[in-house]
Symmetry: C2
């Protein structure tokens, strides 16, 4: 299958994936022009011959430029698009703190909160079928965020950064994984703040019901 | 318990942890002066009152400076220490490619290869007790590296970067997790190259036995 030509930055992603939303929201926030190509993971769109030529690991999101460059990994794409914008702290230690949240997100937050949501909401696994450690690990992760967000409005310094974008992606969908954000009031308020910054629908009120 | 005063950069880590070695090797490579404080995870050193004051998540590695700043997350510490050195590409797209490898390391490589090693080598779990998906995921991760390292000497561009340091940390110990690096000859050679850059003992020859 021939690879479709592109004429501008192209973001490949599945709209149900928080990871895929990170580069999209970042591009929207800083006013970057791009084409969005919807990729349906559950229908196997990441395993087609055409997609695997672009990214042999078969993962979205993926960024692609007309000169042939491609870049995988949600947080790496987000950082690259945001470089030079206010989304990245100019202070080098604050940047390091932002990086620490991004790595923590991929290692600790996503594998519990996003995975539980995927199993429960998309694969329709019953509570009994889901590894119980995902709930306890996810709650511990939300507790770490609650500690930070009780003391400050944002995750790093006193400004909205890529760390907030990365962490909100699945935190605002945590209720779909069975987590109750009303137990984490500072996180709950922060989700609303980030949604307002990004101009997103206020999803998290679902957890107040 | 009173927090011990420090007079220079202090790296807290467990020498059996690849994650903890990343900032240490980085500091050694660029000639940074630091004090190493050995933390024994298996003996509970990360759960003491003194350590939890420094890092409430109870994780190593942790970097601490005399002015009170602390920074968690192996890859974030490594990047912060390496800033301005040749370990970070000056080209912004190559830096993004390095970041992509670092996030992939924490999301895909570490949770299979390092976790299997910990279960098998340190917790002495039998093969039957270990989730079989760890072997298949770890082999897929090594396959992704093999593809890159068949085409190039280093993970990013044509230079040794933080991506090589991060990925070698557990790849050189993969045999302790039951992986056979001789099946991945380009990875095997690269491990030796990275070990020579860092002045480390050549551990990977164990897999040739």
């Amino acid at each position: 299958m021939a690879l479709r030509e592109i004429t501008q930055l192209t973001l490949y992603g599945d709209s149900i994936s928080g990871n895929c939303m990170k580069p999209k929201w970042t591009a929207d926030f800083i006013g970057l022009s791009y084409e969005w190509v919807e990729i349906d993971i559950l229908k196997g769109d990441t395993k087609t011959e055409e997609f695997l030529v672009l990214n042999p690991t078969g993962q979205v999101p993926l960024a692609r430029w007309p000169d042939g460059r491609v870049l995988p990994q949600s947080n790496a794409i987000m950082l690259y698009l945001a470089e030079g914008s206010d989304l990245i702290p100019s202070d080098s230690f604050q940047r390091a703190q932002m990086d620490a949240w991004l790595f923590w997100e991929q290692y600790t937050h996503e594998p519990s909160i996003a995975v539980r949501r995927f199993l429960k909401y998309y694969l329709q696994h019953s509570e009994g079928e889901i590894d119980p450690s995902l709930m306890s690990k996810g709650r511990r992760a939300l507790g770490v965020m609650e500690m930070q967000l009780t003391a400050a409005d944002w995750l790093v310094g006193d400004a909205f950064t890529c760390a907030d974008i990365a962490l909100v992606a699945y935190t605002r969908l945590a209720h779909e994984g069975g987590f109750d954000l009303s137990e984490f009031p500072a996180v709950h308020s922060w989700v609303g703040r980030v949604e307002r910054e990004l101009g997103l629908e206020t999803l998290h009120e679902v957890t107040d019901v």
